[in-house]
Symmetry: C2
Subunit: 407 residues, 2 copies
Amino acid sequence: MITQWKQTHESGITYPEGFVASGVRCGLKSEGPDLALIVCDGPASVAGVFTTNLVQAACVRYSRHVVERGAARAILCNAGNANACNGERGDRDAIAMAEIAGRELDLDPTMVLIASTGVIGHALPMDKLERGIPAAVNALDREGDTDMRVARSIMTTDLRPKMIGVRCRSDEWEGEITFGGVCKGSGMIAPNMATMLCFITTDAEVPPPLLQKALNEAVRVTFNRITVDGDTSTNDMALLLAAGSGDCRITEPGPALEDFTDALTRVCLYLAREIARDGEGATKLVEVRVTGAASEADAERVARTIAESPLVKTALFGCDPNWGRILAAAGRSGAAFDPNDASVMIGDQIVYEAGAAAPFDRDDAHDCLTEPEVSLSINLGVGSEQVSFWTCDLSYDYVKINAEYHT
Amino acid sequence: MITQWKQTHESGITYPEGFVASGVRCGLKSEGPDLALIVCDGPASVAGVFTTNLVQAACVRYSRHVVERGAARAILCNAGNANACNGERGDRDAIAMAEIAGRELDLDPTMVLIASTGVIGHALPMDKLERGIPAAVNALDREGDTDMRVARSIMTTDLRPKMIGVRCRSDEWEGEITFGGVCKGSGMIAPNMATMLCFITTDAEVPPPLLQKALNEAVRVTFNRITVDGDTSTNDMALLLAAGSGDCRITEPGPALEDFTDALTRVCLYLAREIARDGEGATKLVEVRVTGAASEADAERVARTIAESPLVKTALFGCDPNWGRILAAAGRSGAAFDPNDASVMIGDQIVYEAGAAAPFDRDDAHDCLTEPEVSLSINLGVGSEQVSFWTCDLSYDYVKINAEYHT
């Protein structure tokens, strides 16, 4: 069990010992820093989770190979150009990015992970990266606003940087473990599409297979349970580097790994919720909670269907306690339940039960939906499985952001 | 093979011999006619397809039983109140509607089909129906604007009435067959949700099992291949009445039934496309065509995912030839294909092939997307299966219609 938990949002990716980073302007976005570099003092264990989209950017294909080898020293990430759907040239450019970084850092390029986000179908301007990567290496630091610069360098249409630093303890561990995390994403964002990118560092020592197991589990219940518009990107990627620079060493499955996974899940949950909150055009963060399901898969099916329903999401934007849309979304999800045994809550008020509308205070329900964080829950009345899912509302600004951009 | 086809949009549900109808105001909507009645001179064979949503309105549960018996004389449809999620009272009210209609028409109430569309979770005002149903019976007619009044009576947020009359021939038939059709639907529409309702009449004589087979097949490739927002309603229903008042009798499976199914499919296709065209906030009708798939299921998966993607639909609203979003939606659909072998077309221009952007005329592609009917196609390059799917774009007005309504 996690016995101590301290988190900060002033620090991020270099919070654990053993990491330096930088965020510089390379000229890929129209303004602001757009190239981030994260470097570990020595070889780190690495784990990664990648988009399941069949259409995959060159960086995804490349970094997957690095992760398979289990060790890495650096993550190089550019924003403003996804380097996706660029044919063989895209693959060559991704490798060239790793080679330039390797040369400048005096590392084997196979130890450099690559991530990209931005416009697709446009070739990377390699001349800019030839100049930008050495600048990023020169700027490597752990002090001042380094972590914030990293967070800003990976943003595209995100409105807010998203980062976290954590220091935590468990009785199962020697000493404490620190985590640093940063992510970006706010929909499949302009210009062409977007991307969820998440980078996490830790000072724990965890061998790659166990690290991958922990990351898979953490992502499953966090990043895989957020949705802005249901569209997955060609570039999605979550990477975890474990430096082994701290006191805690985890060498086998068991309670210590479970608590590490638990802590990692909390880090991912914070970052995932920040992505949903910053969804394109979002005015609120919405938790969709499904309880009483026959299976976890059914609970997730219902939660995802509600969270992705344009009708539910527009009603949330309009602060309308429209339980009919919630119930109807559940009904078409494919999950097994009897509507007569189900109940729906908006905030802490029951609005539907026993097959019909419950008497509820409409003004209260409306007011509750005007808050920046709102919760919808549905009890399916079948079993005991439950999940939470996070989304945002669907506003005029979502349409604006996605319709007014011209490729 | 269908050898002759004449269609009109001046006539609709009473176009075949043997049917009368009416559309009257009963007071369930804020204005306009809101109660439609369609009556066959004698017992008609009946077939029906109903929503697959687990949450089903009382009229769906009731009419399903009528369809199972295979014969019906009338369809009574109200707009403005869905009579869904009203518990046992809802079931009693649906039965009462059939009983009042049966009494006024001097029919067994089990021969009366019931359909409802509109707000959910509010009890039907039965006093209004007690007065409205006799008025509908008194107004039964086949002349003048009867069919248009029926089409208007079943509308909720639809902007346009949708109806068709068809007279067609096949060498497999004795004489000709006439069809009349009417439908409504433009999304899961305000106030609470909406509904796709479709009623079709024909003068052919077709026994219920064959009629059901024909309707299932026609709906599968038409109404089941349109989407406005991916939300299915609690009240969706397509009903087909075959009066046997004409020359053509179909008694067994074979070429005559195949041509009947083909003709019925064309009727459904016209009506389904009209629903997509009239989608909430829609500025254009979009055909998504998938070719070169390994299976029909894969083709449908890709087509549906593209047609439901908010990113694709907002790009269409913005007239942006954003092939990246189309390809990425295909990539997450679950269908098997290699993006390097796929190609994407907007109108008749190839915009993506061989793993990268194709050189295309951006202005032409933009102009083609400003038309009222546009087509997107993707060839998966795997096999030879293909399907078409119809949808509309996602505009500010979709958000407005669905966010600004307050239950």
